[in-house]
Amino acid sequence: MKVVILGCSRVGALLATELFSKGDEVSVIDQDPGSLKRLGRDFDGKAFLGIGIDEGALKKAEIEKAEVFIAVTNDDNTNLMAAQLVREKFKTPKIFLRVYDPKRAEAFKELGLNIICPTIDTAKKIEKFLSEKA
């Protein structure tokens, strides 16, 4: 399976290395060469320097062949724009993205995007622990 990951954040790098070790074909895009170092030595997929809201960078990372696109930069708006750009232009079958701001996450879920909101998830998990203890 071909996967393109935008943003070599902690979660981006973790996903990239995990998926790569399972045998997936992985391309990672980040605008910061320092972040790409997170991939480590064992990662033998492809890493590209560039911004993800740019069609050129996405094409270089072979988005046209990808089955999955994951947008996990640290900027909500970049993830939202990249995911929608990829959906419109390249019709990639599976798209996932991270949005920290719960309100923004809720609003954009209306547009049918697969949004993961770590803020909501963390709060829910903690609440659950608390209610279990009580």
């Binding site: 740019d54 708006n77 970049t78 419109e88 609003a107």
Partner: protein, 217 residues
């Protein structure tokens, strides 16, 4: 009209001034505190500190009663998301985004932004037009360049002058929307006659652009 402008840089600042002079109700939104305090010296309560993509800011702005929202920050992804949030949550009738990378014009419009303005593109075509014809000034590009508004001054040998507009053979998808003569603005009708030195404003479709230019040369 109530207009919200997000982004208090050069573009937002001048736009706010311009619209206020025309007696519109304007609210400027800036997220950088230093820039905000400078702007508030000039605009007072008409500027607020906040991130235009956040729901709380949108609420503070009174987004529910806005007629137009214009997002003119320097980041395309921010301008897009701000316009989309305004549409999804507040059904703002008209959103306009500045597009810093002209390549993004098309995608913005397919994602629901009503109009895009790309200064890079306008300046680019200004330079191009200068070399090209010497007298076509592109004022505005709509629908990602599908339709453009041009300003042109009519010379003495123009084929358009001294004839009724209804007798002119203009290409399809091309309408003369106004003529400026001295200090007068003329909205042309079929029997209007254009004169030498009139400045005319024309709406031209992409496919009609070449034919349109030839008419004036």
């Amino acid at each position: 009209m109530y207009v919200i402008i997000v982004g208090g840089g050069q573009v937002g600042h001048s736009l706010a001034r311009l619209l206020m002079a025309e007696k519109h109700e304007v609210l400027l939104v800036e997220k950088d505190p230093a820039r905000y305090s400078k702007l508030s010296e000039e605009f007072g309560e008409s500027v607020i500190l906040g991130d235009g993509a956040e729901l709380d800011t949108l609420m503070d702005m009174g987004a529910n009663r806005a007629d137009v929202l214009v997002a003119v920050t320097g980041m395309d992804q921010d301008n897009l998301v701000i316009c989309q949030m305004a549409k999804i949550l507040y059904l703002i009738p008209k959103t306009i985004a500045r597009v810093n990378d002209p390549k993004n014009e098309e995608i913005f419009q397919s994602l629901g932004v009503d109009a895009t303005v790309s200064s890079t593109r306008i300046i680019g075509s200004l330079i191009e037009e200068k070399i090209d014809a010497g007298m076509f000034i592109p004022l505005l590009a709509l629908k990602g360049g599908e339709v453009e508004i041009f300003q042109t001054q009519l010379s003495s040998d123009s084929t358009l002058i001294d004839k009724k507009i209804s007798k002119l053979t203009l290409p399809q998808n091309c309408i003369i929307i106004a003529a400026l003569r001295e200090n007068q603005i003329i909205i042309p009708k079929g029997d209007t006659i254009l004169k030498e030195n009139d400045t005319i404003i024309t709406l031209v479709g992409k496919d009609a652009k070449d034919t349109f230019k030839k008419l004036f040369l």
